[in-house]
Symmetry: D2
């Protein structure tokens, strides 16, 4: 049987993998980024064992295509999600590092 800590880790990772692949490719611009961040956070908060989530899309890499907007990409995400299973917790993060949207256990 997995421990509560292991399940908290497992659940946090599910949320990061899920949101990345759900929202990548969505049209976005600096003006619409707040609405998108709010929607992504709302979706993550509904999921099991989530106690907190913060989604930040990096406006500085929202390069405009010829029609004046961008698409959500791995380069844009800075996400922290916290889970709690029994007495155990996990904080996990998605952030762009060394050319890769890295997901990691923070504590």
């Amino acid at each position: 049987m997995p421990t509560e800590r292991e399940i908290a880790i497992f659940e946090a990772a599910i949320k990061l993998g899920a949101l990345y692949h759900q929202f990548v490719g969505t049209p976005v611009s600096p003006d619409t980024a707040p609405a998108m961040e709010a929607a992504i956070e709302s979706a993550v908060r509904l999921q099991p064992y989530v106690t907190d989530v913060n989604v930040r899309l990096d406006r500085s890499v929202m390069l405009e295509n010829p029609f004046g907007y961008s698409e959500i990409s791995g380069r844009m995400f800075d996400v922290t999600v916290k889970t709690k299973v029994g007495d155990a917790t996990c904080t996990a993060r998605l952030a762009y590092e060394n050319g890769y949207p890295m997901m990691s256990i923070q504590d």
Copy 2:
């Protein structure tokens, strides 16, 4: 060469196909539906030739799974998008009809 009307139709349909497959599967509940509708509308508005978009997710079919939320499905969408190319326009709709998320030209 396609006419302006044909291009307006083509562009409206792209938006409906795109948003359906971008957002289907996203966790949602009646409480979070407004944030999701706003985000979807913001994403569609950025795209070429769009003059108006209205997204409504049907709360009445947001059946709760064992963890108390639902996922965006074809059954939930009621979307109207308007495009304009030169002097031509198109209004297109995505709505659930006869067991299918039907996309159609409205005018």
Copy 3:
């Protein structure tokens, strides 16, 4: 009422918008590209009014991330889809042009 030609155009565009936003972000490499192309084609062929579809993912832009793979992006797609509604047909294409995954009516 839209004409058969207009509906053929509308249906072709739905398929392009749909496949783009369904599959963008999927892990891919030159080795796995054939399986992915086959799967995307199989999904498009199931949809209404499609008579033919060809999906090609450009291997030359599958740049490796630090873990040795890439993700499907707008830059990779070269897709042709044909639809038929009554006696009318439409050929539409998705291809990367001038920094944008352009969708267009071909005939």
Copy 4:
């Protein structure tokens, strides 16, 4: 610092969350299910720390819509993924249980 076992669990969960939200909504039928299963497996195998993956889409719940096909849904997935980090491993599963696409640590 997380242990190797914790990272193996974390990585397995990322893959399950990712594939679910990448592919849900894709048109599918019993005839095209093998191509889709192969493509999903190919995508998961590319990702870091994966040693094995098996994807099975349940044909028995591929109910036909009016156009004769279905869409990948949480109800269809039966997926096992194995990861290895250092000397530690994790086997995780996605399967439909009690009305929910449950992801769990198997060992």
